[in-house]
């Protein structure tokens, strides 16, 4: 007996080691890939495009930026601030617009999705209009919002809401439509009122659909805020990008993108947390890979 358990132990240890080796290999390969890509970018843009020996120029950093230049741009923003004020202020403004737009869009999307999903007449009447609105390139509405709501955060929030709403709406609608008929019948027999049906059966059932839509729609909220700022603003990361573009500062554009990427990754991690918290009843709650 002792021997068999020792064999099992050895087997487990070997397996754990193999697993650990593989994990390390993946990590090393990932890092190597990043080094190769960033390194190639750096080296090819250091081939002397601006100077006496410009014949050797491969990639011009004036147009394509340069990793070291992007880094020093970030450092200078952190230390000296941006053209329109401290960096943190810009990030805070963009975040405020994104989060508010996201929250309003999600709430409206869920309300409309559940209402239309539950009411056949309402969905038959409004359905075509919603499809038309969805098919339109709504980003253009940013111009209207800039005219109507001015250069402050309202116009950016409005644009983010318009982008987020449809993603959440369609998912909530579909989720409500796919509620198990037996569960509905069961709840009715048990004595549920219409309101109780919505709260105890329809919403929880549609929740996995709605939560899936949050992953995409946060990205849309960020796009709405940035484009809104780009179209006209006094503060924000979108304005920083517009300013960088205006001064032919490619490194500035890339540096702003780095900041946006970090924001998006943190938001994604928070959404995964929310998802796992809300649907802990699921057999194997989906774990979206965070920060690959």
């Amino acid at each position: 007996m002792a021997q068999t358990s020792a064999v099992a132990d050895d087997f487990d240890v070997a397996r754990a080691r193999a697993y650990e080796r593989r994990r390390r290999l993946v990590l090393i390969l990932r890092l190597a890939l990043a080094v190769v890509i960033v390194g190639t970018w750096e080296i090819t843009t250091r081939t002397g495009c601006h100077g006496p020996d410009s014949a050797t120029c491969v990639v011009d950093p004036f147009f394509f930026g340069q990793p070291s230049g992007i880094w020093s741009q970030l450092v200078s923003w952190v230390q000296k601030g941006t053209a329109q004020g401290p960096l943190w202020e810009q990030i805070a403004v963009t975040l405020e617009e994104t989060v508010l737009g996201f929250a309003i869009g999600v709430i409206l999307g869920i309300l409309f999705g559940v209402a239309l999903g539950r009411n056949r007449l309402l969905s038959d009447v409004l359905g075509p209009y919603i499809n038309v609105l969805n098919a339109m390139p709504r980003i253009v509405l940013g111009s209207i919002f800039a005219i109507a709501l001015g250069l402050d955060i309202q116009s950016k929030i409005a644009l983010a809401v318009v982008l987020v709403f449809f993603v959440v709406f369609f998912n909530a609608f579909q989720g409500v439509r796919e509620v198990d008929r037996d569960l509905l019948a069961n709840a009715r027999i048990l004595g549920a009122s219409q309101g109780q049906l919505s709260r105890h059966v329809i919403l929880p059932s549609a929740l996995s659909w709605i939560l899936t839509s949050l992953h995409t729609s946060f990205g849309f909220a960020l796009v709405g805020a940035i484009v809104g700022e780009y179209l006209g603003a006094r503060k924000g990361i979108g304005l920083m990008i517009a300013t960088a573009q205006g001064t032919f500062n490619a490194n500035g554009v890339f540096a702003a993108m780095v900041i946006l990427a970090i924001i998006a990754i943190i938001a994604e991690a928070l959404i995964v947390r929310l998802e796992n918290f809300l649907i802990k009843w699921r057999p194997n709650a989906i774990n979206y890979p965070v920060a690959m």
């Binding site: 069961n186 709840a187 027999i189 048990l190 004595g191 059932s205």
Partner: protein, 272 residues
């Protein structure tokens, strides 16, 4: 108990037609007459697609009949009534609620406060043998345990009419016999009228006071048979009694023809 004179359930020449989205109509039940006395256990058997489940949906008030009347304790059924409990064929427990929350739903829907509902729910969870599993989610339980949750969830409302739609068909044979015995015990203590739909004749005879055979669709009553086996019964053993076998043969003669009709039709459907 003046009410016991009135039948618990009366279906009077009930017809149910469904209209498909393409406008074609399909008759599930035609001129179905069925009476269930208070406290009686009636099993309804019939071939696949004969409208057994539709019958339950009509009695529960989930679906209105196309023609005819349905009365529960003398009152015409207009919507989902409070005296009805319904155990579904598939698991209809709520996957996002744990066992306690699932069982407590009935009382909560009917206006009990949380504490009261939970106290009642704990009691019923214990009665179906799931004490200790209050915090488990349905996906963490076996099929038989989920069925127990469904039973507790239904019985906690103390329905005077219990409708069961092939509730044990997804369980393995041993679990099934166990659950059938427990159902009989629970039923004996509640005195509810039961309509139990199944395609398993052994199960029907083992459980019921009366077996009703429904014809291949459109469904109507082909015959009813009194099961005069003594109670309490043990499902695992009752089937060896000579009287059980006699009744089985008698009912099977009726049922066989309908099963064949239904089978021939399904062959044609596949062929065409």
């Amino acid at each position: 108990m003046a009410e016991s004179a009135k039948p618990a359930i009366e279906l009077d020449r009930v017809t149910k037609r469904f209209v498909s989205p393409t406008g074609r109509s399909f008759t599930a039940l035609r001129d179905l007459d069925l009476t269930v006395a208070a406290g009686e256990f009636v099993a309804v058997v019939g071939p696949t697609g004969c409208g057994k489940s539709t019958t339950l949906a009509l009695i529960s008030g989930l679906e209105p009949p196309s023609l005819g009347t349905i009365r529960v304790f003398g009152e015409p059924v207009k919507s989902v009534g409070r005296s009805v409990g319904y155990v579904f064929q598939r698991d209809a427990v709520f996957p996002w609620k744990n066992v306690l929350e699932n069982v407590a739903m009935g009382p909560r829907f009917r206006g009990a406060d949380n504490e009261e509902a939970n106290t009642q729910a704990r009691e019923w969870i214990a009665r179906v043998g799931l004490a200790g599993f209050e915090r488990y989610y349905p996906h963490q339980l076996s099929g038989g345990m989920r069925k127990r949750v469904a039973l507790a969830q239904t019985l906690i409302n103390q329905p005077r009419i219990l409708l069961m739609d092939e509730p044990f068909s997804a369980l393995d044979v041993q679990t099934r016999a166990l659950m059938e015995n427990e159902l009989l015990e629970l039923w004996a203590s509640t005195g509810a009228s039961v309509v139990f739909v199944t395609h398993d004749l052994e199960e029907a005879i083992g459980l019921a006071d009366r077996v009703v055979v429904i014809t291949a669709g459109p469904g109507t009553v082909k015959g009813t048979y009194r099961v005069d086996l003594p109670r309490p019964r043990n499902i695992a053993e009752v089937r060896f009694q000579p009287r059980f076998i006699e009744i089985y043969e008698e009912v099977w003669k009726d049922l066989r023809d309908e099963v064949l009709v239904s089978y021939e039709r399904s062959k044609h459907l596949v062929a065409s």
